[in-house]
């Protein structure tokens, strides 16, 4: 075991994967600086910088993957995926189905996501539930360095498109670019356990779609991912003092969802709060409600703490629109506990 920062872990896992498999290459804007260490180690064929043409180079990534390579296409911020959504919606996600299962698209789309650093509503979205709506695509969102590295390998080794999202509050270079800009007089609520942690000596892919129980409990299940799992941990600690025993699930994969993990937990607790930084409606939190409602044959209490509006620039407003500990506590306390 060694200790690494979140972004360092991703880079380290990428180095391992790229060393082992020459078919892996990176494609995206500014990669000569964003991935400068990989460029230095692997050369410019493996780290290709592009013009600001997301729909062309994401579309090109789809067919490069179909040609048998393992492209990792970077969309700087997931917010920008709108200009290239067709490549995901109608191509990456559908080629396998259209070809009768004969042709697969082993593509990784890597993007930064998430808010909490004052960059406004076009740069702080999460969108994982939005993207996961499309059948044929998987979405993964690590919450700590160990997962960040291991899950990247899972994404790369998958024979289908996986969208890999790294939260900007966890990845130090993103936060430096977009949040602090080298200043020392602005601070953000960075979850320590997410930004830095123990990692394996050799990166190992984790099974696709496997969630992780971060904390066991019997009264209440919190289901979350990314930065928000750390908000849950904080909230759970407070709830302990109120005699509420909280189980926390770090989904890791938005899609496929670890249905049995969710069901097992909620069958026990009968109370569930989804803490999801993506938009509230028609997304992940609803899907979890549906899964529970479909599978559980008894009453359960359901609440959710999500982003219900365009993310405001004002930091106070922003902090209240994004899931936070107080909002989680409010929902947890509003439940009835017999």
């Amino acid at each position: 075991m060694r200790t690494m920062e979140f972004a360092e872990a991703i880079e380290s896992a990428l180095k391992q994967a790229m060393s082992e498999n020459p078919d892996i290459f990176l494609l995206g804007e500014d990669l000569h600086t964003l991935r400068v260490n990989l460029l230095a180690q692997f050369g410019k064929e493996r780290v290709q910088s592009t013009p600001i043409s997301e729909s062309a180079f994401l579309g090109a990534g789809v067919s490069a993957a179909m040609a048998g390579l393992r492209p990792i296409v970077e969309i700087m911020l997931v917010d920008f995926i709108g200009v290239a959504a067709d490549a995901l919606l109608n191509h990456a996600a559908k080629v396998h189905a259209f070809s009768g299962g004969k042709w697969s698209v082993p593509l990784v789309v890597r993007a930064s996501c998430g808010g909490g650093y004052g960059d406004g509503g076009q740069h702080e979205q999460s969108l994982w539930g939005w993207l996961a709506h499309i059948p044929g695509i998987n979405v993964v969102v690590p919450s700590n360095p160990a997962d960040a590295g291991n899950l990247l390998l899972s994404a790369i080794e998958a024979d289908h498109p996986v969208i890999y999202l790294e939260h900007k509050l966890l990845a130090d270079y993103w936060l430096d670019y977009m949040g602090t800009g080298g200043r020392e007089n602005v601070t953000f609520d960075i979850p320590e356990a997410g930004a830095k942690g123990e990692v394996p000596n050799k990166w190992q892919p984790l099974p696709i779609g496997e969630a992780k129980i971060l904390r066991e409990g019997s009264d209440l299940t919190m289901i979350s991912l990314g930065v928000s799992v750390h908000r849950c941990i904080e909230a759970a600690a407070i709830l302990t003092n109120e005699d509420i025993s909280t189980e926390i699930i770090d989904l890791r994969w938005v899609s496929p969802l670890d249905t049995s993990c969710i069901i097992n937990s909620v069958s026990k607790t009968h109370r569930v709060i989804v803490v999801d930084e993506d938009y509230l409606r028609f997304g992940l939190s609803g899907e979890i409600a549906a899964i529970v409602a479909e599978e559980i044959n008894s009453k359960f209490q359901f609440g959710r703490v999500c982003t219900d509006f365009t993310i405001p620039f004002n930091r106070n407003l922003e902090d209240n629109i994004l899931p936070n500990v107080n909002r989680i506590l409010d929902v947890a306390r509003a439940f009835t506990y017999e």
């Binding site: 043409s53 579309g59 067919s63 559908k94 189905a97």
Partner: protein, 349 residues
């Protein structure tokens, strides 16, 4: 005139006619109600497709648009699998999942898509893979002139130029995009636009397969070299079935009485509606629509048919042509018989 070996000429004819007869067969099957949904044919584009494909080598990739059938036929996809796919049969090339707009062959690196412009990025990715692997392969993108206003295609021109990728962009220009005359919604001159992206570009007569063959013969070797670069060909053509089978504009010319009545009723009612635009504007609108219908008739003409033209230009090969035709016809007819047998037997489409 370009000098070409007889063998090449016959090969081109065979490619074109195989595709033509297959699509005529598809037309029949569609008319008989065996195929659901839309049906976009490549009839009229055969010279372009054959002229390009006859220069491709194994490992070259092709990204087609909504008119994928001719490239799939000419590139040598198993015809039974192809036809079954177009019929939506579970034994088809794609197990009936795709249909004519979503044909895929991994083996032959052939793709298609119903999204306008998407063959651009798709070919770029294949070319990127070829260059990455240091092969001498290229990738071809087929698309219509209407697609030249779609962002992802424009972006992919730049991407191919900036990354020096061996993409042959082939713009099949029939000047129609469904019922829009592309020249009316396209600024400037396409070739200028393409050259503005730093790509060598050329306009040719797409109804003459020897012209296409020759143009591609010149273009491709340079693309395969170690200093890669894209190339752009704009080739005119005509679709004499219009945009798709049952094209509403062409129906006017084929069943004028029936169609005209159905349309002009509401149209005239609209013109005469109390509220609305000034009367001269209304009349201008109607005149415009009528003239569009009139113009769409041009597509019906055979004068640009690449097969007729090739036959005329090569009268001396008439006998061989006849032989090729009849052998393709009987082959294809047998295939259809077999397929209809499969379909009847299994009772499902």
């Amino acid at each position: 005139m370009i000098f070409m070996k007889e063998r090449t000429l016959l090969k081109l004819y065979e490619l074109m006619y195989r595709s033509r007869f297959m699509e005529e067969t598809i037309t029949r099957l569609w008319n008989d109600g065996h195929i659901y949904g839309e049906m976009h044919l490549g009839i009229g584009e055969e010279a372009i497709i054959a002229g390009v494909l006859s220069h491709l080598i194994p490992g070259d990739a092709i990204a087609t648009d909504h008119r994928g059938t001719p490239p799939f036929v000419m590139r040598g996809v198993d015809l039974e699998a192809l036809l079954l796919e177009i019929l939506g049969h579970p034994k088809g090339l794609c197990l009936g999942m795709g249909g004519h707009m979503h044909l895929f062959s991994q083996e032959l690196l052939l793709t298609s898509s119903g999204i306008v412009g998407s063959s651009g990025p798709s070919a770029v990715g294949f070319a990127l893979a070829a260059k990455y692997r240091k092969t001498n392969n290229i990738a071809v993108a087929f698309f219509g002139e209407g697609s030249m206003n779609q962002g992802m295609l424009l972006e992919s021109l730049n991407l191919a130029a900036a990354m020096s990728l061996p993409v042959l962009f082939v713009c099949k220009d029939n000047n129609w995009a469904i019922t829009t005359q592309s020249s009316e919604v396209t600024g400037g001159v396409l070739l200028d636009r393409v050259r503005g992206f730093g790509i060598e570009a050329r306009e040719i007569d797409g109804s003459d397969v020897t012209t296409v063959w020759q143009a591609v013969e010149t273009a491709i070797p340079r693309m395969r070299k170690s200093t890669k670069s894209p190339y752009f060909i704009q080739a005119n053509c005509t679709h004499n079935e219009g945009h798709f089978l049952g094209d509403p504009l062409l129906r006017f010319h084929r069943a004028p009485r029936k169609e005209f009545g159905a349309v002009t009723g509401p149209l005239m009612k609209s013109v005469l509606q109390y509220k609305g635009g000034r009367i001269d504007k209304r009349i201008r609108s109607v005149t415009k629509v009528l003239s569009l219908i009139a113009k769409s008739r041009m597509q019906l003409s055979d004068s640009k048919d690449p097969l007729l033209r090739f036959e005329k230009d090569n009268r001396d090969l008439e006998d061989q042509f006849t032989q090729i035709k009849s052998s393709i016809q009987s082959e294809t007819n047998l295939l259809v018989e077999r397929i209809m047998g499969i379909i009847q037997e299994e009772g499902v489409l």
